[in-house]
């Protein structure tokens, strides 16, 4: 029996129920016993924490994280990624299969789960390769891997180019009601590009990825999802038109959901500015009109998940001419602050802005966490929703420091994080 803990005098935010009011949360044995205005300073408990009016929400669930484990531990390990997650208020994350070796078998899914159980402070769910070695040719053991506990199936950052392979893999996955995630990209259009195609890229003299690279693949994936009946998560859309396509398909009855990288809500193509390699990401920062359309989607509740798209890259792979630099940005520690900043600046209610990092992804993966409700795991984050701070990459817990937020001013800061009722991070 663990001690009964009461966190009181908090601003309780539960996106699942829409709750945003004063109150507290009562925890015992790692599970939420009670939540709401009834939990106060006088509630019977062994340990009491005064939240001092700060915001208390479900710990974040991040559906897109890359680590370097196995294969590139110099970039990030499951342990260092979980440290970054805890510091960012992320209590559950999904690791992508793009590792070396690729997570494409029962044994590797099992390895990642066991490894994470041993070293990670937060909950880690592996996603598995849709095709073997992400080769885009042969499907992996989708049924067995799903039974082994894979969160979903994805070809990571290597899109399946052969529509026949994708159709059969989706069709097969549908037999098991497995979730398939696909980041829409057409390599023929995006290969060797650096940023969004357009006037700004032209002025910098950089090769740009046109938005059609995303649209063509997206439309194909939506059609195949429609005919195969698979549950499709469109991973990291970055344009206004992509969001409209997803909404249209959803209205037509396609079982489709979508995610957006937090950086796509925060930056536009101009932020690449002076050839900043930390801003070289896939999909690239798009136009301001795209960014505003995605923020509007956040406000309207049509974005199912906002992800960090955490992709650690060591200095040696980033401190290069931008055309030669690696893609990717770390994001676990800035996911919540970025969302809070956007919510504040764009006047989006927190219970709405936080849904795609709590109950949204929880529902997608059928997880019990991601909500403040009796019986749910006590995965919680306490934060100051308006505290201003400037991000300094050297203060990040990630092993790699490639953050586009480096030097940026943000509003909203994590104070403390709990997983199953135990503190995993506390700001000193």
């Amino acid at each position: 029996m663990s001690a009964r803990r009461a966190i009181y005098n908090a601003r309780i935010i539960d996106p699942a129920s829409g709750m945003d009011e004063k109150g507290g949360v009562l925890i015992e044995n790692g599970v939420i016993l009670d939540v709401g205005p009834g939990v106060t300073k006088t509630t019977q408990a062994d340990v009491k924490n005064d939240a001092k009016g700060k915001a208390l929400a479900p710990g974040l669930i991040d559906l897109r994280v890359k680590t370097g484990e196995p294969g590139a531990e110099n970039k990030e390990t499951l342990q260092t990624a979980s440290d970054a997650a805890a510091a960012g208020g992320v209590t559950t994350f999904v690791v992508m299969p793009d590792t070396d070796p690729v997570i494409d078998s029962v044994a590797l899914v099992d390895f990642v789960k066991r490894r994470a159980d041993g070293v990670a402070k937060v909950k880690v769910h592996p996603a598995a390769g849709l095709t073997l070695g992400l080769d885009g040719a042969k499907m992996s053991e989708i049924g067995l891997i799903r039974e082994a506990g894979a969160a979903f199936f994805s070809n990571g950052d290597k899109p399946v180019e052969d529509a026949g392979v994708l159709r059969r893999a989706m069709s097969y996955a549908a037999s098991f009601d497995a979730l398939v995630a696909s980041r829409p990209d057409t390599p023929a259009l995006s290969k060797n590009t650096v940023m969004n195609a357009g006037a700004f890229a032209a002025r910098l003299g950089l090769r740009g990825a046109p938005p059609e690279a995303e649209w063509i693949a997206l439309e194909r994936d939506l059609m195949l999802a429609e005919t195969t009946g698979v549950r499709l998560l469109v991973d990291c859309i970055s344009t206004a038109r992509s969001l409209a396509a997803v909404e249209r398909a959803r209205k037509a009855g396609v079982k489709v959901t979508c995610s957006v990288a937090s950086y796509s809500l925060f930056f536009n193509e101009l932020d690449v500015g002076d050839y900043l390699t930390y801003c070289k990401v896939q999909p690239p920062f798009r136009t301001e009109a795209d960014r505003m359309a995605l923020i509007d989607g956040l406000r309207r509740g049509v974005i199912d998940a906002v992800v960090s798209a955490h992709d650690p890259q060591p200095t040696e792979d980033k401190r290069l001419p931008i055309a030669d630099a690696a893609f990717g940005a770390v994001g676990l520690e800035t996911l919540l602050p970025a969302l809070l900043s956007i919510a504040l600046r764009e006047e989006i209610p927190l219970a709405v802005a936080l849904k795609p990092v709590t109950s949204g992804p929880a529902d997608l993966l059928d997880l019990p966490q991601g909500r403040l409700a009796a019986g749910a795991p006590a995965d919680l984050v306490l934060f100051d929703p308006a505290a201003p701070w400037a991000c300094d990459r050297d203060d990040l817990s990630s092993r790699s420091k490639n953050s586009p937020f480096d030097g940026r001013k943000l509003e909203g800061r994590v104070l403390r994080t709990w997983v199953n009722g135990a503190t995993v991070f506390e700001r000193g």
């Binding site: 095709t131 073997l132 040719a137 042969k138 499907m139 992996s140 053991e141 989708i142 049924g143 067995l144 392979v165 059969r168 069709s171 097969y172 549908a174 037999s175 098991f176 195969t228 009946g229």
Partner: protein, 318 residues
């Protein structure tokens, strides 16, 4: 029914037959089972008639079964060695047919890898044509022998719940069986992953399942299909072990069917892929060897029936 005149010249598929046609063949087949169990198995029904086996695809059991069926009825049986024949030398299918036709056979048994090829040949020859399997289209004598097997063991097929499991998409056996069992009043279920379920299968008059345990619930008969090795290379299925885990018939999955449910397989089996050995060899529940026995009898019935319908010499030739 004894005086019912089977109205077809060829047997190209179950499609196109009616219930009476099927019952007529099953009843005649039933009588030949008894003949085949006697020490002397000869009849002279087809004495003086010529049966030609033309197998463009390798086959051991079906080809052998037709040969034995023809011989037991007294026919002269010739099996054309396709592998070393003029077909390999580039002769077109229709030229081969015309050549054979000129030899004036009475019955032509054809297996071909392309759907529709047997029907094409049937239009070019004067004799009766029996489809011994065309591509992924039909294999009518297999469906008839399966029906005879079930009937002899368990009685009336009407009202039975019968599951067909495995590679439905590429199976001519499944197509013929669905048509045949439906006609005989069975409730047919198809069980397969979606990659191996043909589009529109739900309109075949069968219920479609992806979960084998659910699909087997309440079934009287479980028919397993052969899974071709080349399907397991990652295109349609990830691996043999995954297929066995979800769609291989083992004791655990079979428990979901009726307690004494019968098990069938058209052969040849991949033990450990689509069926567990202990199930395939089960003394009381496996009908797999009985199917082979019924195969000879039903083919005798088909040969006799079609030979009767053959036009008089000269009636149809140029």
């Amino acid at each position: 029914m004894a005086d019912y005149a089977f109205p077809h010249r060829h047997l190209l598929g179950i499609e196109g037959l009616n219930r009476l046609d099927i019952e007529t063949l099953l009843e005649l087949g039933d009588r030949y089972v008894d003949l085949n169990r006697q020490r002397v198995k000869h009849a002279d029904t087809l004495a003086g008639r010529t049966l030609v086996n033309l197998f463009f695809e390798n086959s051991t059991r079906t080809q052998g079964s037709f040969e034995i069926a023809g011989r037991r009825l007294g026919a002269d049986v010739v099996t054309m060695p396709i592998a070393t024949s003029s077909v390999k030398k580039g002769e077109t299918l229709i030229d081969t047919a015309m050549t054979l036709n000129a030899m004036r056979p009475d019955l032509l048994v054809i297996r071909h890898g392309s759907s529709g090829a047997v029907k094409l040949l049937s239009r070019k020859v004067d004799c009766a044509v029996i489809n011994a399997g065309d591509g992924t289209h039909e294999h009518p004598t297999q469906a008839l022998l399966d029906a005879l097997t079930i009937r002899r063991r368990a009685g009336d097929i009407g009202g039975m719940r019968i599951a067909i499991c495995g590679d439905i998409l590429h199976s001519r056996v499944a197509r013929s069986n669905v048509a045949c069992l439906n006609m005989l009043g069975a409730q047919v279920r198809l069980i397969a992953p979606r990659t191996l379920t043909p589009p529109g299968a739900a309109d075949w008059g069968a219920e479609v399942f992806t979960d084998m345990r659910k699909g087997l619930e309440g079934c009287d008969v479980v028919m397993m299909l052969r899974l071709q090795q080349e399907r397991m290379d990652g295109a349609y299925l990830p691996s043999a072990r995954e297929f066995f885990h979800f769609y291989g018939l083992d004791a655990d999955k079979l428990r979901h069917a009726k307690p004494e449910a019968l098990v069938m397989h058209p052969g040849p089996m991949n033990r450990g892929v689509e069926i567990e050995s202990s199930i395939a060899d089960h003394k009381t529940r496996s009908l797999i060897t009985e199917q082979v026995e019924m195969g000879v009898a039903i083919r005798m019935a088909v040969l006799e029936t079609l030979a009767k319908n053959a036009p008089e010499p000269g009636a149809n030739s140029k």
